[in-house]
Symmetry: C2
Subunit: 534 residues, 2 copies
């Protein structure tokens, strides 16, 4: 047949904004690029990288704040048939060294803020053949040996560079998840997987009625780092949709507030900690947030934070996924007919499985458990966009895909209404007197106490019960926490049947701050090490 084949390639995501003649801009600081300019810059970047020796299969790493440059790398690097390696600057130098070395990165694009980090490990990265500097002011920091400055390289490159077509199963991206034990593990995604993740996510957004709607008129500001699982895949969606996109650089509440007001932002996504920080920032106090839609992911969305966000008029709701899943598995869209209280509960659940995603909760023998909102088990998934396994780690890959389903390591329940609720990370489960207590349910409840700013619940060793839950709490600015008042509040909730009396922690400890991982999640391993043995 003479038909043109149509592989699912990342470059196809650029067809529609041009075909629909989007007049939106891609904004970073003073830079404003139209979509045609953006696409010409992608061609220039492809040309510049090729001149530096880029070839299909090569790993090309990026260390940058969220910027127009990073977005250009999201496209140009995979469009060369090379692999975009999104390096994590929050890792320890040794972990960063491990991931760059393990990926075999040969070219590294690096922002000046991360040059000291890179200089410290550069001598131990023999495969690295070229570095590109990403200064915002166009000036290469003195003494930094590199192939050139990003904008200068683009200016010299060929704007007519043509990207070849190739097999849609070609690897497009690779990055590393930081487990709580051992080395970081690499996951990778193919062009086909990223295109299908984008399409399925857009199809799922189409389903939205009461909350979670987007359109070509949406103004997008990511507040999730772009090194973190493709910034949840949303930059690809925003590009295909031809949206106005605003990249914030390094996050500061004042900087985000200024962009928000200036650019008319209507859509963001972030972890709970960031939303909490923004809502508490003085710069956000007088902003009209009533047209802002925010997807909360990375950690459970505490009900207290959800209520604070809704009170400001924000359309805030949770998403669920992980590095291994590209990442979106589910979104907390509201179904028709939910009463207000049920709607808040739905918004803070992990949500409804996204288009093409199959989720089950299973027992230890992989038997599916009833969808009754009561039976808790491990959440396992199937979808077209899940990583095939961990790069170069067959044993971990086999465990990830045991029984033909991807194992999330999360414990959850699925309701008859389809909503998934995560009750714990499998490794954070608290088993006390033979019963499971959900640390996330407890955190959710404690977060609603009027004095509590942040909370973590961990299991601590107990001679009689095996383990007991313990709550670590951080007070809201200007508040002080009386642990007994929190306990009284929890017992009152237990009287109402919200939790079991047995779940109320004996120990509620006030701390200055909670330990976090490199991507801003509660580091319960560390918290258990600090408090759990007591």
């Amino acid at each position: 047949m003479p038909a043109q084949p149509y592989p699912l390639l990342i470059k196809q995501l650029l067809v529609t904004p041009i075909q629909q003649a989007s007049s939106a801009e891609i904004v970073y600081r003073e830079r404003r690029h139209s979509y045609p300019e953006f696409i010409t810059r992608i061609a220039r970047l492809g040309s510049a990288l090729t001149a530096l020796g880029a070839r299909p299969g090569m790993r090309i790493a990026v260390l940058d704040w969220d910027s127009h440059r990073y977005l250009e790398c999201y496209f140009a690097i995979p469009m060369l048939g090379a692999v975009l390696m999104t390096a994590n600057p929050r890792l320890s130098p040794e972990q960063l060294l491990y991931t760059l070395d393990h990926s075999g990165a040969e070219i590294l694009l690096v922002h000046p803020d991360f040059i000291p980090l890179v200089e410290g490990i550069r001598a131990r990265l023999p495969k690295l053949r070229a570095l590109i500097a990403l200064p915002d002011d166009g000036v290469i920091p003195p003494g930094f040996l590199c192939a050139g400055e990003y904008e200068a390289l683009l200016a010299e490159a060929d704007p007519g560079f043509v990207f070849a077509e190739f097999d849609e199963n070609t690897t497009a991206t690779q990055f590393y998840t930081t487990g709580t034990t051992g080395h970081p593990k690499g996951v990778s995604f193919s062009h086909r997987q990223i295109v299908l993740h984008t399409l399925a996510l857009m199809a799922n957004v189409m389903l939205a009625s009461r909350n979670g709607r987007l359109s070509r008129e949406t103004v997008y500001l990511p507040i999730t780092p772009m090194f973190h699982v493709h910034a949840w895949g949303i930059p690809y969606l925003a590009t295909l949709a031809g949206m106005k996109q605003v990249y914030p650089g390094r996050y500061t509440p004042a900087g985000i507030a200024a962009i928000f007001a200036r650019e008319g932002v209507t859509f963001s996504h972030c972890v709970p900690t960031i939303l909490n920080m923004l809502l508490a920032a003085p710069e956000f106090r007088d902003l009209d947030l009533s047209r802002w839609q925010v997807i909360i992911g990375g950690s459970a969305f505490p009900r207290g934070l959800a209520e604070a966000a809704l009170a400001r008029g924000i359309d805030a709701y949770a998403g669920y996924g992980m590095s291994e899943t590209c990442p979106v598995l589910s979104l907390a869209q509201l179904k028709p007919g939910l009463a207000d209280d049920d709607a808040v509960r739905a918004r803070t659940s992990a949500g409804l499985p996204s288009v093409f995603v199959e989720l089950q909760v299973v027992d230890e023998a992989m038997n599916p458990l009833p969808r009754d909102g009561a039976h808790a088990g491990e959440v396992v998934a199937r979808a077209p966009h899940l990583t095939a396994g961990y790069v170069g780690n067959d044993a971990a890959s086999e465990a990830l895909w045991a029984g033909g389903w991807l194992h999330t390591g999360d414990i959850g329940v699925i309701g008859a209404d389809g909503y998934l609720r995560i009750t714990d990370r499998a490794k954070d489960v608290i088993k006390t007197g033979g019963e499971w207590v959900s640390s996330l349910d407890l955190e959710d409840l404690v977060s609603r106490h009027p004095d509590v700013g942040e909370v973590a619940v961990i299991g601590v060793t107990d001679a009689k019960w095996g383990e007991r839950p313990m709550a670590l709490v951080v007070a809201k600015p200007g508040h002080a926490i009386d642990p007994e008042s929190v306990r009284r509040y929890l017992f009152a909730e237990a009287e109402k049947g919200v939790i079991s009396r047995f779940a109320v922690p004996e120990r509620i400890e006030c701390v200055e701050a909670l330990d976090k991982t490199s991507v801003g999640k509660l580091d319960k391993k560390r918290l258990r090490a600090r408090f759990g043995g007591a």
Copy 2:
């Protein structure tokens, strides 16, 4: 890698309504099926067809009005690895015979209304091994020899039937386009193509802001026959979205009006003739149509009809595509910032290219023409969901894909704003005095005359100018048309610069009715035969 492969199969479209626990129903007459019931019925149909000898690759044909049964066939037949052949009951018996024979259909599901048609050709279909009757009342018409009645066969079949997985490039559907010359030509689509058409269409609906939004709360009533290009692919979209779906059976204005009011319909699609008929029907006079969204396709959307629809509060806009394209190529969503008059013009254009669709207008040497709203040329397309060619017709397939693009046979212009406007079918082009006159522009204009109900403009032979346009007009009910009044109106429009004076037809003829093809489009070939030689 141990990951589960994920082929793009039609059966995956059933994952999400179950995962999201849709509580919507699929309705036909008194029948109301939940999504779980619908999926069990698909399993039963797969089991029943297998018992009758269905196997991968077999062509299985359907002749039915739009019904729950037809929707079940949309899934069960391709899910067996067999090919759904959607036969066209509006063809002449000889054409129907040709298409059934050419496809090699071995099983035929037939509604009693079409049994006389089938009985007349059955003896000349030696490959046909089994027929299934589709009566609404459960009674097989006396004397009709068949393998059984649909509901009875389902009742006896296995509700636990499991559909195998197979290659996503397996053919799923096949049907015939009726050209104006020669035999009907068969086109076919793979599972991958139908899944990608569904996802891309949903992604495109996500982009909608002012018009054309859908959600899981949409109530869907198709008014395009299901034998016609998968009813534009919308039943697959509606199913994946878990929408309430209402199937109307044989179309009558009274029947559609009753369903509309009873079921709370919010979304339909149809050809202009049908919308015209419904708006004129007394049963529609008092209905509140202000929550109704209607996509108009199959023929150009005349401005007069668009204004009448908008006056009733209908969100009416055009779609564009053809049998060869699965079919959606573009949708007339409104971009931000259009003034009212421009918005009507946008709604009646062919619209913006849908997600992943690349459209160009080209000259005869396949050079792309400027996107300036002025340069007219043939519209050619690329997309993941275009037919690979005509079944068993290499010469026509080569012509369809000449130069690596699918040739639509339509003449159009693309504006700088991305909107495509079709000015003619290539074969309907009117060339007069060396200049092209757009028959569609003229029809659009004439349709706005207060007395005109329907209009067709054709080219008629002219000794001096080669060809001249001629308008054939049908009066609105209760109106009479004075051709001179229409000419005066057209000259007034020419004064305003809307058309050239040279485009105003000398001949404007009042007729009782306009010839239509089997899918309700103007049959200009026939009209030219009747009037063109004069």
